[in-house]
Every structure is written in structure tokens, then in C-alpha cells.
């Protein structure tokens, strides 16, 4: 069985710049792993996640998903399997339910079962969103609520890999704790594979993460309880 994700000799520089952000970066991710990538702001942590789901294109190297080069996978297919959740949650100007069902309006997810309203309500509870109604506008939610909703929406299309870009950086302490708790539960209970980038000092309580540091344009295994 090939690893879930394998990054080989990845090189990247921003358009119009010759300075490399990544230089022959390597990473292997096995199914079920909980990976934390740490490093100061501006080292390219978010860019790394964006490269994995092809929102940016690398200058060199390759990224394999389940053994296949990601450039050989239809982009929409890749992104339904490898779901990226941005730092600032984005909602369409519609209800909570319409936002949650948005992935099902896309051709690639046409064959997947849409969750019913009751199912969505039950899920909202699990995401600490019991107090919001599926029919209310998503635009009026707080940023912490939007972040949890964005996580829930990404999960509804059942991706194999979740890429979380600084999921708590815009949140207060309480909201951040909720998001961390959700992330850990997704790994322990639903066996989801997660790659989270963060610049804050977060130590998971219930999972054993693989912690990488992004320094000198490449990743270094920093800490592992495995």
C-alpha cells in the first residue's frame, strides 16, 4: 500500500521571485496520522497546504496521493478527497444548511448521499453549534462559528485527508479550544488523517501527533510520540 500522501523534493518560489520558499522538501503521511506543522509566520506553511491541493503550483518535485501524481488527478476529484480549510472561513450569502450542502451542488459530489436536516442538526451539536439553526443566515455567525461550520462542511464530502490552515488563528481562546477538540475527535473517533499548520504552541491532549518544524525551506521531524 502506498502512503496516503508523499511529497518528494518539492521546490517552490512565489511568482516573480527567485527566492525559494521550499527547497527539496519531503514529507510522507500515512493514513490515520495527525500531523502538526509548526513554524513562524511567513515561512510558507499555508503555501505547503495549498500546494498539496493544487491551489498553487510547485516549480519542482512531485506530490503523490495514494501513489498517484496529483497532476494526473482531475483537480475537482483531488480536492474532494483532499479538503483544504482556509484560515479565514468563507461562507456563501445563504443559510447555514445551504452552505453545508454546497459541496453537493458540484458535479464531482453528485453521487454522494446528501445529509438530511435532522442529520445536519445532530452534526451541528457535535461541532458545538447546537444553538444555531440550519435555516438562519450563515453570514451573521461569529468567526468562531463560521470556522466550525467550514470544518463540518469540508467533512460532509468525506475527504480522506483534511488540510487545516491555521484553524484557530482568528479565534478567541474558547473557540480555539472547541476547534482543537473537534480536530482530535475526528482523528481518534473517525480515523481521519489531518495535516494542520499552526504558529501557536498547541499540544493535543487526546492524540499523539507527529510534529514537524518548517525551517530552512524544508520540514524537520521535531517530536513524535510514535
Amino acid at each position: 500500500m502506498p502512503p496516503l500522501l508523499e511529497i518528494r523534493n518539492l521546490s517552490f518560489a512565489y511568482e516573480g521571485s527567485t527566492a525559494l520558499v521550499f527547497d527539496r522538501l519531503n514529507l510522507t503521511v500515512q493514513k490515520g496520522e495527525f500531523i502538526l506543522i509548526k513554524g513562524p509566520s511567513g515561512t510558507g506553511k499555508s503555501t505547503l497546504l495549498r500546494l498539496i491541493c493544487r491551489l498553487n503550483q510547485p516549480q519542482g518535485g512531485s506530490i503523490l496521493f495514494q501513489g498517484n501524481d496529483t497532476t494526473s488527478i482531475v483537480p475537482a476529484k483531488l480536492r474532494s478527497l483532499v479538503s483544504y480549510v482556509a484560515q479565514i472561513p468563507q461562507m456563501i450569502d445563504a443559510t447555514v444548511e445551504e452552505n453545508l450542502l454546497l459541496p453537493f451542488s458540484f458535479a464531482i459530489n453528485a453521487g454522494k448521499t446528501r445529509p438530511g436536516t435532522e442529520e445536519l442538526k445532530a452534526m451541528l451539536c457535535k461541532f458545538y453549534l447546537a444553538d444555531i439553526s440550519p435555516v438562519q443566515s450563515a453570514m451573521k455567525l461569529s468567526i468562531g462559528q463560521k470556522q466550525r461550520l467550514a470544518l463540518m462542511r469540508a467533512l460532509l464530502q468525506e475527504p480522506l485527508l483534511l488540510l487545516l490552515d491555521e484553524p484557530t488563528s482568528a479565534l478567541d481562546h474558547e473557540s480555539a479550544a472547541m476547534v482543537f477538540s473537534i480536530m482530535e475527535r475526528l482523528n481518534t473517533e473517525e480515523h481521519k488523517t489531518l495535516i494542520t499548520v499552526t504558529h501557536i504552541d498547541y499540544k493535543p491532549e487526546t492524540v499523539r501527533p507527529l510534529i514537524y518544524k518548517l525551517v530552512h525551506r524544508s520540514l524537520h521531524l521535531h517530536e513524535s510520540d510514535h
Binding site: 491541493c53 503550483q57 483537480p75 475537482a76 468563507q90 458540484f106
Partner: protein, 261 residues
């Protein structure tokens, strides 16, 4: 009654009074438009005189290559005007826009002069060049509006587009609203023109025909054809250009290439 009164050079210069009014307004209220008004006036005189001489020559020689060449020059000029208005450097849109304009306007002008008006030969310059000119002039504005709007929205809503891409949308699904809004923004002026025509304004071509002594009932038939032609050619060229240019806003991995300013 059908005697056309010529405008003498002196009378033509007298019309500059209108420009003086505009210049005075800009000067008094510091609108900063004096230079543009001067350049615009000079260009109106020189370009129209040039066009007058070219048309006189073309009408005399009746050469289809010459007629199509004039048409080509008009499309190239329109392209430069669009380029000046859109000012987009990241996405290459000029070449597809040019070819679409040339082909779709040629098709529209041919349809109108050849089939609806039924002129032989189809390139009869007296009909073909004014028809082509009106199509180019109107659709050019529509294209400039649509392109400018799409590039602007794609930049401003980049994160929203990327959110949809991240949820499995293909580039067409992720940019559907931006695309629709941009195309309709370009088409609205020509649709609105159909609403107001004959009530609020008398279009230039019809006015010209009436001034030149044509029966108003014939002039309106021409004008109806022109109005419909403008809506159709705008829709056709906008859709083709926007479909091609929208694809160019995304890279090989269907990632958004435009970045916010």
C-alpha cells in the same frame, strides 16, 4: 424636401461653441477634463474626416478586400480601446478577444446585410460598413464592461472561489456567479437601449437617415434590425470571449491565477 443641406466649413466650426461650453464648465468647476475634451474634439474631427475620405474612395472602387480591410482596422481599433479600459496585465485576453470580435461581428454584419436587407453583393460598402461599425462600437463597450467586471470580481472574490474549489467545484462551478454577473453587466446597456428607443431617444442611424430624407417608416425598419443585431452580436461575442478568458483566469490545476491588488 429631399434636398440635403450641406454644412459649410464655417458652420462646422460654429458647432465648436458646444465644446466651448464643455471646456468652460470643466474650467470653472475644476473637473480636470479640459485636456481630454480638446483631444476628443481633435480626434472626432480627424478620425471622421479620415473615415469620410476612405468611405468615398471605397464606395467608388467597390473592392471586397478593401471593405474587409476597413472592417479589420475597425476591429483592431476597438481592441485597443478595450485594452485601454480593461488594463489587465496578468491574464492574456487580447488575442482571443480580437479573433472572437472579428469572426462574430463579421458573421452578424453578413447576416444583416446579406440576408435581412438582402444586398448583393454582401459586401456592398454603403450597407456593410455602417452595419459593421455599429456592431463593433456597441459590442466593444459590452466586452470592456464584462472583462473588467470579471477580472475585478475574480480578484475581489478569490477566497470565495478557492473555498468552492476546495470543496470539489471545478473552475466553471466555482466562478459561475462571477461569470454570469460579468456577462449580464455587459449586455444590460444594449437591452436597456431597446426599452428607451423611440421614446427617450432617436438613435443616431435613424436620425441620420431621416435628416438625409429617408421616409421615417423605412428608417424605423432599419433601426429595428440594428437594435436586434446589436443585442445578438453583443450576446454572441460576450459569451465566446468570456468563456475563453475565464478559462485563462485559472491555471492547469484549475487554481486561481489572479491575485488581489
Amino acid at each position: 424636401m429631399n434636398q440635403i443641406i450641406n454644412i459649410s466649413t464655417g458652420q462646422l466650426l460654429l458647432a465648436l461653441v458646444f465644446i466651448l461650453i464643455a471646456q468652460a464648465t470643466s474650467f470653472i468647476y475644476h473637473l480636470g477634463l479640459n485636456r481630454d475634451i480638446t483631444i476628443g474634439t481633435l480626434r472626432t474631427f480627424s478620425q471622421l474626416f479620415l473615415m469620410g475620405y476612405v468611405l468615398t474612395y471605397i464606395l467608388k472602387t467597390s473592392n471586397p478586400f478593401l471593405v474587409v480591410s476597413v472592417f479589420m482596422v475597425m476591429v483592431v481599433s476597438a481592441m485597443f480601446i478595450i485594452k485601454g479600459r480593461v488594463r489587465e496585465k496578468q491574464i492574456p485576453y487580447i488575442i482571443p478577444t480580437f479573433f472572437t470580435m472579428f469572426v462574430s461581428y463579421l458573421a452578424t454584419a453578413l447576416f444583416v446585410s446579406g440576408l435581412i436587407i438582402g444586398i448583393t453583393p454582401w459586401w456592398e460598402p454603403r450597407y456593410f460598413i455602417p452595419a459593421g461599425g455599429m456592431v463593433i462600437g456597441n459590442s466593444m463597450s459590452a466586452l470592456a464592461i464584462s472583462l473588467e467586471r470579471m477580472f475585478r470580481d475574480m480578484r475581489q472574490q478569490k477566497e470565495l472561489v478557492e473555498m468552492q474549489l476546495s470543496l470539489g467545484a471545478n473552475y466553471r462551478e466555482a466562478s459561475l456567479n462571477i461569470f454570469r454577473n460579468a456577462v449580464s453587466a455587459g449586455m444590460i446597456p444594449s437591452i436597456n437601449a431597446m426599452m428607451g428607443v423611440g421614446l427617450v431617444f432617436i438613435p443616431g442611424m435613424m436620425s441620420g437617415q431621416i435628416l438625409a430624407g429617408t421616409d421615417p417608416l423605412i428608417a424605423i425598419r432599419y433601426q429595428i434590425v440594428v437594435m436586434l443585431m446589436l443585442v445578438g452580436s453583443t450576446a454572441l461575442s460576450s459569451i465566446i470571449v468570456m468563456l475563453i478568458v475565464r478559462r485563462r483566469c485559472f491555471g492547469s490545476g484549475e487554481e486561481v491565477l489572479l491575485s488581489p491588488h
